[in-house]
C-alpha cells in the first residue's frame, strides 16, 4: 500500500514539474515624467498681495497655461509623474494562456495655480505636491 502511494506521488511530481517549467513569469516597470518640476516651494516664495507677475515668472519660469478671468489672469504650473508595474505569469509554449497578471499604475501631479488681480499682483494661489505620494514599486 505504501509503495502504491509512493508511486502515485512520484507520478504527480513528474507531471507537475514539466508543467511548471513551461510557465513564464515576467515583470515590467515603467516610468513617465512630463514637464518640469516646480522649482521652489510656493509657500515660501509667494506673498499674497505683494508678489508680482514678473517675480512669479522669474521664480517659477513660464507657466504651462495662462487663463484670463474677468478680474485678472491665472497661471497654471504642473509636473506629471506616472509609475507602473506589471507582473505576469503565462504559459507561452502550448496554450499561450495568460494565467495571472497584476498591474499597478499610479499617476500623480504637482500642481500650482496662481491668481492675479488686475494690477498683476498675486491675489491667491493653490499648491499640491502629489508626486510625493508615489511609491517606488
Amino acid at each position: 500500500m505504501a509503495l502504491i502511494k509512493g508511486l502515485m506521488n512520484c507520478n504527480r511530481t513528474f507531471v507537475l514539474i514539466p508543467l511548471l517549467m513551461t510557465l513564464t513569469c515576467g515583470c515590467s516597470i515603467g516610468r513617465i515624467y512630463k514637464g518640469s518640476e516646480i522649482r521652489c516651494d510656493p509657500n515660501e516664495k509667494i506673498k499674497i498681495g505683494s508678489t508680482t507677475k514678473g517675480e512669479i515668472l522669474e521664480i517659477f519660469g513660464p507657466p504651462i497655461k495662462i487663463q484670463k478671468q474677468y478680474d485678472g489672469d491665472v497661471f497654471v504650473y504642473a509636473y506629471l509623474q506616472k509609475n507602473s508595474s506589471v507582473l505576469t505569469i503565462e504559459e507561452p509554449y502550448f496554450t499561450n494562456m495568460l494565467i495571472f497578471e497584476y498591474t499597478r499604475e499610479q499617476q500623480k501631479m504637482d500642481g500650482l495655480v496662481i491668481l492675479f488681480d488686475k494690477n498683476g499682483v498675486v491675489k491667491n494661489f493653490g499648491f499640491q505636491k502629489g508626486t510625493k505620494e508615489l511609491t517606488v514599486y
Partner: protein, 69 residues
C-alpha cells in the same frame, strides 16, 4: 492637462504674449528576457514674453527644461 504643448499656452483673442517652446523626449530602458524597465521623460525649453501697451517687453519667463534630460 497638456504638459508638452499640444494645446496653446493661452486662448486670449488679442494676447500681448509671445511663447516659444522646444520639446525633447528621452526613453531609457533595460529589456531582458523576463524583465523590462522603461523610463520615458519629456522636457521642454519654454520662453514666454509679455509686452506692454507700447509693445515693449514688460516681463518674461524662461525655463530650460531639456537640461534635466
Amino acid at each position: 492637462m497638456d504638459l508638452v504643448g499640444d494645446e496653446p499656452l493661452t486662448n486670449y483673442p488679442f494676447a500681448n504674449i509671445l511663447s516659444y517652446q522646444y520639446n525633447r523626449g528621452s526613453v531609457r530602458g533595460i529589456i531582458a528576457i523576463l524583465f523590462y524597465f522603461v523610463e520615458w521623460t519629456v522636457k521642454s525649453d519654454r520662453l514666454v514674453i509679455f509686452f506692454d501697451e507700447d509693445e515693449k517687453v514688460k516681463y518674461y519667463g524662461f525655463d530650460k527644461g531639456t537640461d534635466e534630460l
